[in-house]
Subunit: 335 residues, 2 copies
DNA sequence: AATATTTACGGAAACGTTTGCATTAAATAA
DNA sequence: TTATTTAATGCAAACGTTTCCGTAAATATT
């Protein structure tokens, strides 16, 4: 196997403890031996066994990122930010996908109760109405931070965007573009992110005296095919909306595809606006008006907050929320 | 802290070893005590310390996925496949981004020499012309598999797609659509994947007696902005190509953006075809003709191969290559 | 010169498991 | 009845670190 401290110390005619200290630059060791030890360590390609260190130190230099899905522009960008930050700090990143299933989220949480990671970043599933599994982690003393899809009732740092405000602003833009019948298409009835966006949308409509028709406020919380059927039904109805405000980009994409099928022109027959991190927004058949979250920065910020509480001795987590701004980019789909 | 075997065994009036064996269903323990032990373990919310187990067992139940970037449709899909497979097997997944830098790839490789993971899946950077750092890992006895961006000279399982054949077929499609001046835009001069695609493209041109102009076989291996300038120069030249064959989707996206700038119509003024896993291909301003790799399956397959050699005692890695098929989907951008 | 302090190192315990090797009691065989 | 096997459990070593404590020599202090 790999060379260990014992072998290394034998070759050097030194004790294990001296070698260990020399390698970690202890002040108790003379510069001369430090040099000698480090040189030999390089020669023999010595690398400390992480499990022995972890066991002894009771920490893993590892964080977990729990997300609904990695193959998603928002979450992959956020993960990019988190991993980049962690790598800079010399930490490792474990990734877990819940696939939008609460059962998996719970199962993963249980698996992380044993100290495998020093901290956890999580974005909840569409189904997560109850967060006692997260509470359990916190009670075990494991630092947790939420990003984007947060649980508002837990005393944990949260990284979010200005969902209400950006949705409000986006909806005002739609109204100014002449929309009178706006359909909000959400992804969940339990996620704060969804409900805040919806609330922002409704508030703008109220302010501008737009009649709210609840029958066109729909939720696509099932699989892709069923969701598409739901949207198709909406866009095929006699009393079709004149605009779709999509809560996430997948819904916008489906809407585009359905417009194609139904020969609806965007933006003439239907305007579409969406929360989106697509890098193809500008080159879509009708360039997509987007509300773009700073996904990469959110991932970095979440990791940064996580490290802050991880480093704090005897930490008491506080429920501070960091709100980043999304940006509205108007393009052809709402002209 | 967390409850450990010692405390648990004390509560049960049993020895540590008995409790340990009971929990792992050893045949040496009576059913009665097994039941009693498991019940108590649940009650006290006992979870074995993974580092102690790892140290003792000399394995980590963890694999590493090393990729250029996670915020990339292909790699995020492949990672999805790998993580899904690993999760099913009860394994954990560490993720590392190289950001296309060989130096990082080397640094990460060094960090994984210490047994932190039981196996590694890797897709190389654009810059990786030398793979001695990978060889070092193999020499330490750590199972490695390549996917997509492979090193052809190493004796390791490799998961690839039929790059030569799919590029050949795609190019023939371009030629049949009337293209006489095809520009291949690559991403690296050292990656096999790039060179195989280029070779496939050239072979098709040769077969159909299309003149090959080396000045329009270009490589975009720098940052986004410089690459875009390069493409712009190409598309703005007097002797502009009538088709772009993009080696990866980022190049296709840039090409679309430049066409917009230069008021070039796709496909009238320029046809574009690309290797791509974009889920917006069909709704782009001119729907993109794509060669799509089975990214998710590649990730799963790579993980599957990795587990095979991980489970093999005293394994000798063989350089078997699994080739999956890409599919050509013809859309409007080459009509 | 005698004592106190500092410097540089070694011994051994501890982190929490897993497992080879007893050990004991009960069950079976001779 | 006595010897032998089987079943169920305990003891202690081992995995490879880190660090508390101890100690001898070297240096500083009075």
């Amino acid at each position: 196997m790999s060379v260990n401290l014992k072998e290394l110390s034998k070759k050097l005619n030194l004790s294990i403890s001296t070698v260990s200290r020399a390698l970690r630059d202890s002040s108790e060791i003379s510069e001369a031996t430090k040099k000698r030890v480090k040189k030999k360590a390089r020669e023999l390609n010595y690398h400390a066994n992480p499990f022995a260190s972890n066991l002894r130190n009771q920490k893993s230099k590892t964080i977990a990122v729990i997300i609904p899905a990695i193959a998603n522009t928002f979450f992959s960008l956020a993960t990019n930010g988190a991993e980049s930050f962690a790598q800079e700090k010399g930490y490792h990143v474990l990734i877990y996908q819940t696939h939008e299933e609460l059962a998996r989220e719970i199962s993963i949480s249980k698996h992380l109760q044993n100290g495998r990671v020093d901290g956890i970043m999580i974005s909840l599933t569409k189904e997560t109405f109850d967060t006692s599994h997260i509470k359990e982690l916190m009670d075990k003393g494991i630092p947790v931070v939420f990003f984007d899809r947060v649980a508002e009732n837990l005393q944990v740092p949260k990284i979010t965007t200005d969902d209400f405000e950006s949705a409000f602003k986006g909806t005002e833009h739609l109204i100014k573009s002449g929309c009178k019948r706006i359909s909000f298409i959400g992804i969940s009835e339990v996620l704060a992110i969804n409900n805040n966006r919806l609330a922002g949308c409704l508030a703008a409509m109220q302010k501008h005296k737009i009649k709210i028709d609840k029958s066109i406020l729909i939720t696509c919380d099932e699989d892709r095919i069923k969701n598409k059927q739901k949207i198709k039904k909406l866009l095929n109805s006699t009393n079709r909306p004149d605009a779709v405000f999509a809560c996430v980009e997948e819904i916008a994409i489906s809407s585009y595809e359905i417009c194609e099928e139904l020969k609806l022109n965007i933006p003439k027959d239907l305007k579409i606006m969406s929360y989106s991190n697509l890098n193809t927004s500008a080159i879509l058949k009708s360039a997509l008006t987007s509300i773009t979250q700073p996904a990469y920065e959110m991932g970095r910020e979440a990791a940064s907050e996580l490290f802050k509480i991880m480093y704090k001795k005897d930490y008491v987590s506080v429920g501070s929320t960091i709100v980043l701004k999304s940006s509205l980019i108007v393009r052809n789909s709402t002209k």
